[in-house]
Subunit: 126 residues, 2 copies
DNA sequence: GATTTTTTGTTTGCTAGCTAGCATAATTGT
DNA sequence: ACAATTATGCTAGCTAGCAAACAAAAAATC
């Protein structure tokens, strides 16, 4: 993804933010946090890069002034239209592999990461 | 790994370097490149951190003065002895999962990453 | 023997992840 | 109504990845 996006000076996480705004419209920054599963501080930097490049606007909410609503700018919409389709990546990686084997791989990885997340959660609570 | 190593102010890639030096003794920096599968520039930063902390020494080779031989210092050896066993991570993640399913997951992932590496290799050549 | 190419390592500047700590705003409890 | 707590976002400082460009040394070529 990063290699495909490099000509546009966009990283993969920045792409995900644009994707969200392009598909669901304006979104609260705090909601993106849940969707992207990254830390507040990290998202802050990513959004900062998009704002700096003029692709995204950050508008404080009128009701809760802590929260910020993210919206694509005209320049952002234009760039989004120029970005290449990235689905070829998934095709290259997985086309032709047995569906059952892919399902098994997903199950194994979900189990393992779930257990490690749980371990980490307990560790940081204690 | 990072969470377990944080109390010792060591990152996971730094750990791999120490592991290599602890098990195989002094190693050329260029050989570590192949072992860790990262870029020259990245390794340079990681080694820099270890040297700065006084855990590793960087000695220019007498024959080929471009190359640098990495060696653990006394402080590095001491720290290595204090680091916890990290094999519990693998146990937490995978214990009890069917061996055949794990093998399938490995096969699927190796195929996918192999294809993507190949795609990237062709892309950067052209 | 001199020139060109290749190899090795570093630096710079970027993305992206983390924790810790701060400010501000909203909410909750008393 | 005021105080304490919680929520949101930011900054600073770190690890770790990348590409591009540079310097120095060695190797290859002419």
């Amino acid at each position: 993804m990063d290699a495909a996006l490099r000509p546009y000076d966009i990283g993969s996480t920045q792409w995900y933010v644009l994707y969200q705004l392009a598909h669901d419209g304006p979104t609260m920054q705090r909601d993106l946090l849940r969707m992207l599963q990254i830390e507040r501080a990290t998202l802050s930097i990513v959004i900062g890069a998009l704002v700096r490049k003029g692709l995204v606007e950050q508008v404080p909410d009128s009701i809760d002034r802590r929260q910020k609503r993210l919206r694509m700018t005209a320049a952002g919409t234009t760039l989004w239209g120029e970005l290449p389709d990235l689905t070829f990546i998934r095709r290259v990686a997985f086309d032709g592999i047995d569906q059952a084997e892919i399902a098994t791989a997903i199950k194994v990885l979900q189990t393992a990461t779930g257990r490690l997340d749980e371990l980490l959660r307990r560790g940081t609570d204690a």
